[in-house]
Symmetry: C2
Subunit: 645 residues, 2 copies
């Protein structure tokens, strides 16, 4: 047996994680085995540069590469995926490496515009069609205390009183075991007056009432949570099920990021021994549980008060959330384990909410068109339009839905994490410190920019909308060419020893981290491939329907790219089709607002299930010519410049 030694990882919160290793193991593998949160969006290919660690003591084997400056290398910085163990060592994991998953944001609506679109969902559901369903009933019941002449058991006493209040028969009422366990004490400590929370379950045959919680005095408040599980970002909102009001909202990075930035790398990891459980734990225990707990704290409730959850996410995220082997999603003929699921309880979902809570999942349509899109299509409202609409969800995967009240067609493309700042050296998601808008002076090449956050917030990095503006501005200013390569010189432009050019947006002394914020031609290349994937998907889908771009009456944009998206600039770089600007609408996180709709309205849920059943799925890779379209779209704005003239 090989000699074992210990690798210690020191996290920025002071925790030290030790793991036994043998010589020659990649540091990233050791870190993953020990569950050390190191970002690796590129899944260890050495391309993203996010997995930096610093040697505190001991030695590791590995050369310097383009992601590490000479000074940083001398200071002990290494990419965890590009160096190997040699002997015992202590490695510092810098805050930046796992900032995404540690940072929980409460009330993280990135702009008033996004919040408005979310509130619009509430408004849209206020009509008769999506009225309250009364799925949960809160009651206060008073009982006669037991006596020698009435020694009926506690459960039967409670059920009798509820039956009388509801005007139903005792046999239609049942009680959860964990509630029964509380019953003797609650009744005796509250003079036989109790607040009960009842879940009304109805079929064509009749209604059943299930008592899921009990407390002394008032009936427990009825609270739900809607969650959008994105590949990169998880967003959630705590909702009062009676008033449909938001009690708290927020987001957190998906801790699965250390297994890769896109769904393919996650699926590969999940297929390894124990992989399904590891990926499930990362999203449930490390991401959703802490997020929900924090939001509950903000809302002033306990997580066990959450009696219903609705979840939307792409097909892979849904599999990994439930701990279901999903690797067939990425293997021909691309078959998921499920599109929809049946009743799941809070205890099964393992996210810390009420054990009897109903957990609802938005249904998927295909391996790459998931519940985020079916829920999002509802939220976008395109199925109600007579004219043709295009719904675009710009996340790590890009998904498209096109159609009207008569038909809906959907397809997906792999944009990569660039829209959410992944695989971009100074990229980040649209949260505090993100540069969300940039204008480049054509003459001086000097930038001006806006940062998300409170007055005085120093910039940290670039989010998707900022990148669009930046690339568009550099292109307009003639700083980069149609291939995204730097062709100008200037004070802000430099070339490193690897021959990679970069444009400095903010100098180190004006950033929060003390490092330059820049964009390199490697970043621009990543971004161009992302925008090319989107544009070529739009072209291919319309061609398959024998339709023209002009026939699109409305384009609804959603996703984590940031609400600051400048449509004109997105058209300039050939990401969106050249249509009149008024046809475009940024509608925020539709996956989350669709999940919200499912949470508060059974009618909305039924409608989403109907939409899923009715969508036609187009497998892009099976369409002849799609790859050619993609290659043609990987230019600024396009090889066929006439499309954007």
């Amino acid at each position: 047996m090989a000699d074992m030694f210990t690798i210690k990882f020191v996290l920025d919160d002071g925790r030290v994680v030790s793991e036994e290793a043998t010589a020659g193991e990649p540091i990233l593998s050791v870190a993953r085995r020990a569950n050390v949160p190191i970002d690796a969006p590129c899944a260890g290919n050495g391309t993203c540069g996010k997995c930096k660690v610093r040697i505190e003591s001991g030695e590791v084997l590995g050369e310097r590469d383009k992601h590490i400056s000479k000074k940083d290398f001398a200071d002990g910085y290494r990419l965890a995926c590009q160096c190997e163990t040699k002997g015992a060592a202590t490695l510092l994991v810098p805050q930046s490496a796992h900032a995404w998953q540690n940072r929980i944001r409460v009330a993280d609506f990135s702009s008033a515009r996004a919040q408005e679109s979310f509130m619009a969902m509430k408004e849209a559901l206020s009509g008769e069609k999506y009225r309250a369903d009364d799925a949960f009933i809160g009651l206060t019941v008073d009982m006669e205390p037991p006596s020698e002449s009435d020694a009926t058991a506690d459960r039967e006493r409670l059920v009798r009183a509820i039956a009388k209040t509801l005007g139903t028969d005792s046999e239609h009422i049942s009680i959860a075991l964990h509630t029964l366990r509380k019953l003797p004490e609650v009744l005796r400590e509250n003079d036989y007056s109790a607040g009960v929370l009842i879940h009304k379950e109805g079929g064509p045959g009749g209604v059943a009432y299930h008592i899921i919680d009990i407390a002394g005095g008032e009936a427990p408040i009825q609270v739900g949570v809607c969650i959008d599980i994105g590949t990169t970002t998880i967003s959630a909102a705590i909702v009062d099920l009676n008033t449909r009001d938001f009690l708290a909202t927020g987001s957190v990075g998906n801790a699965q990021i250390r297994y890769g930035g896109d769904v393919i790398n996650r699926l590969v990891e999940s297929a390894r021994p124990g992989g399904v459980a590891r990926l499930r734990d990362a999203v449930t225990k490390e991401s959703i549980r802490p997020l929900v707990a924090k939001l509950c704290e903000a809302a002033g409730i306990g997580p066990r008060q959450i009696v219903r959850a609705s979840i939307a996410g792409n097909t892979t995220m849904m599999h990994l959330f439930l701990g279901i082997y999903g690797n067939n999603i990425r293997l021909e003929p691309y078959v998921p384990a499920f599109f929809g699921v049946d009743r799941i309880r809070g205890s099964e979902a393992d996210i810390g909410i009420h054990p009897d809570a109903d957990v609802l999942l938005a249904p998927s349509v295909g391996s790459y068109v998931g519940g985020d899109i079916t829920a999002g299509t509802f939220a976008a409202g395109i199925a109600g339009n007579e004219g043709f609409s295009l719904f675009l969800d710009l996340g790590t995967n890009g998904e498209l839905v096109f159609g009207n009240s008569d038909f809906l067609m959907t397809c997906a493309c792999s944009a990569g994490p660039a829209f959410e700042g992944g695989e971009i050296a100074c990229g980040m998601r649209a949260t505090d410190g993100a540069i969300t808008e940039v204008v480049i002076d054509k003459d001086t090449m000097e930038p001006s920019y806006k940062v998300i956050g409170d007055e005085g917030q120093l910039p940290v990095g670039l989010c998707g909308s900022g990148l669009i503006d930046l690339i568009s501005g550099l292109f307009e200013a003639g700083t980069i060419n149609a291939k995204g390569k730097f062709i100008a010189e200037g004070e802000r432009i430099s070339v490193d020893e690897w021959g990679i050019s970069r444009y400095r947006v903010v100098a180190a002394d004006k950033t929060l981290t003390g490092n330059d914020i820049y964009v390199s031609d490697a970043d621009i290349d990543n971004f161009i491939r992302a925008k090319g994937a989107i544009f070529s998907a739009i072209v291919t889908m319309l061609k398959s329907l024998d339709m023209d771009m002009d026939m699109i009456e409305d384009v609804y944009l959603a996703g984590g790219i940031g609400s600051g998206i400048d449509i004109g600039n997105a058209i300039n770089i050939g990401m969106l089709p050249k249509l009149p600007l008024e046809r475009f609408h940024y509608i925020g996180n539709t996956s989350l607002s669709g999940a919200y709709a499912m949470l508060v309205s059974d009618k909305a849920r039924e409608r989403i299930e109907g939409l899923a059943d009715g969508m036609t799925y187009l497998e892009l890779s099976a369409v002849p010519g799609y790859m050619d379209e993609f290659v043609a779209a990987c230019f600024l704005p396009h090889t066929d410049a006439g499309l954007f003239a």
Copy 2:
């Protein structure tokens, strides 16, 4: 803080359990804290003498008492409840002290007679009225493998195939999450052919099909378990739900015995901090799980193949089994937490069976008339008789049901564990080694006896039926008087230093344990109080109905007293009323055969629920004159000898 030291308990299976203690703690308390299985039927009152331990090293503080001979005391034997810690010590826990719970008996029908009565239950259910319910359906389904033109998800593919086979709509079919987790692998490893086990759930509104298990090839076998949770003994049978055949049967002692022999002491313990969980763990983890596992082994199945369980037991046992606070059962006005419960899943019951298994509980009628009696009343069949019948369940609690097809009245009395050998120095339950029949020669006072077990089985102790014969024989021979005190002298009779007389049934050299088997006047006194409780309950109930003993046309005897019970002798000692012998029927463990009926037939379960609703509960302690009746019955045969003339 007081000085801590370690008490080590050495069990006869070699396990050593260490527990920290301070000076002056009762050894039994330390043992309980450490979960050391020491029997204490008298709950630590020093009356039963069952909690003997032997000092191996160190010292404990305590005087000798009547349960410890001088020689044994010198050898280091002590009663754990009557001595205290002084410092570090190592104590041997002799096999006899925890033999009851460790000994799992497979196929423990104590006689052919009991087995016959059990098989009769199967026969009785074979009519049209209790025909098979098809609650579980096993199917083998073949599917088309996925292809480019049919990339339907696994779940939807399976559901589609099942819907076609059953001729129903897909939307009536659901799949359990844990089954969905197995699905991708099962389908791909078995060429898209799978055996599924479906639970059919029906209401007036329609039928729903829930897929609870899946395997490659054949459909999983449908197996259930019925369990009688007695205060002293737990019995169970594994049953093929299709054929209704018994695959294995057996029994084990209830490990709760270390918290007391009767329900009152168990309830007292359960009301202490953490008590409910301790008592629940004792019955589920220590008793039922190992018993079920052993029976499954005998039946050649895995415990997770058990898809339905039915449980009968007294009201206290049902509470402690589910982990529900039941202490109000013993406090005026004697109110249990529940009579019946709603759907409980295997995962909630925590007995190692299928997580989605239906766990059915026989309903209770009152604090001291539980599911063992409602199930037993069904098994006894008395509600179908035109004439009046008396059903007697002789366990640690004695329960009575009297009536006919028009009405049923029920009551309970505390007989104590004497019928099952508890609180009797050489008592044991009716299993291998138990002396089940005794004849005393009137002239010589010499006994002859029968022992349960294979040819050549040496005797271990006396079970209930043996005690009846023995006491009746000693009384007939004039060896004891009407108060149960020894009045004769002889070679077999001796008096110890405490003035307690005893009659030696078997000399030490002819027993398995190497100790004398005897009965003392203290034992006889305990037994007389047990039989007096039963007889006075019968008298009181009939008086409350203004009826005579003669009107009882049939007496059905059930319970752990042993099938060897000699009715004539039981009448002789005044335990049963003097009626013609042919009116008496021993019908074995009716709680278990009733649970069996519930397991295999939903119609039988409905009938048992109906019986529970229709029974009138008589609270004996509230009937004037009951205590007088009890005192009058605590003689051999009775103070009113005319009743037995």
